[in-house]
Amino acid sequence: MSTAGGPLLAATDLELSFGATPALRSASITVDAGELVAVMGPSGSGKSTLLHCLAGILVPEHGQVVFDAIRIDTLREAARSELRRSRFGFVFQFGQLVPELTAEENVALPLLLEGVRRHDALGRARGWFDRLDLGGLERRRSGELSGGEAQRVALARALVAGPDVVFADEPTGSLDTLAGEHVMELLVGAARDQGSAVVLVTHDARVAAYADREVIVRDGRTTSLLPAR
């Protein structure tokens, strides 16, 4: 899992601009294996851009991203894509389920892409439904699910392949308080059970309080705060 003695995931001095607009000016972050880290900051501060760089979706112009002793910012897109599929899970603000597929097919998707046989993939996917309070919804399509249900299906999809890191970008942003808490309870419980690290982007302090610690992004720069005791 983790490199000997070092963090599982480490980004150092990341810089990235979109046109003339700098999104990251000097962003650094480390995530240990199994750790839950909240990335907080105002809208437009660069926190989602940081998450995309950590996950190998975007490539920084300066700085480096190292995951499990692999420098991922210099990998080609195909290799990064393979890494995302095999080692990472993703949850976004709007579940982004594939509307043509049933809930269980959505959850099985990462396994199917990995080449797991359909029967086995669906079997493993179904195992997540009771765990995430989704029992009975296996055959529904995303249009037939409530916002909270759809987000829990997205959660199962992010976790089904046992990723080393789950990247969650405002996972409760489109949900009411109760549904949001339900999603966070399940995300934290399941990630801890299987030892997945979580990078949680949120502007909501109550959501961030589920994490072990937080990193603040302001104007593209990170500040880590040690909890005061």
Binding site: A205, A208, I216, P227, A228
Partner: protein, 174 residues
């Protein structure tokens, strides 16, 4: 927290001995600050004097705690009035946080460092309360939620203040 009215509220459910009443109070309201026995009996004494409760005859047995207290109609009426009355929605402008920020700006010290430290302390407490609510009964979770929402309100103020420090410094130092 108004202890006399809280005790009246607990007594309204059923007549209680002072000791049981203290135990009820601590279980519901006294998590961080249990009610001292002395305060329980002093409060019950005043409530009895004012006709809000009646102390029963001392019952046989050892120890001082042998009286059973019963709420009166007057006590119930006070309780009802209090329960229906909104707590003043004070803006709490004179909090320690506000005073510290203004003093830091006045003296040219770093208000940003203070706010960052305060933010970390708030987040640490929010993590504790979040953990508590995850492992507790619904009643305890309700109390933790109350704390969490208040801390969140402070944090939003901290964030807003942090983003306005330059302008604030100019105004305070003018």
């Amino acid at each position: 927290m108004s202890v006399p009215l809280a005790l009246l509220g607990l007594l309204e459910r059923e007549p209680r001995h002072g000791y049981d009443l203290k135990r009820d109070y601590d279980a519901f309201f006294g998590r961080d600050k249990p009610l001292p026995f002395g305060q329980v009996y002093a409060t019950l004494g005043r409530l009895a004097r004012d006709g809000k409760v009646i102390a029963g005859e001392a019952e046989p047995g050892s120890g001082p705690d042998r009286k059973r207290y019963v709420i009166t109609a007057d006590g119930v009426s006070d309780l009802e009035a209090w329960l229906a009355e909104p707590v003043p929605a004070e803006p709490h402008l004179q909090t320690v946080l506000f005073v510290k920020v203004v003093l830091a700006l006045l003296s040219g010290r770093s208000a940003e460092t203070y706010l960052d430290t305060q933010r970390a302390a708030h987040m640490a407490r929010m993590r504790e309360l979040t953990e508590l609510r995850r492992s507790s009964t619904l009643v305890d979770a309700l109390l933790a939620d109350h704390g969490l929402f208040h801390l969140e309100a402070d944090l939003r103020w901290i964030d807003l203040t942090a983003s306005r420090l330059d302008a604030l410094a100019k105004e305070v130092q003018a």
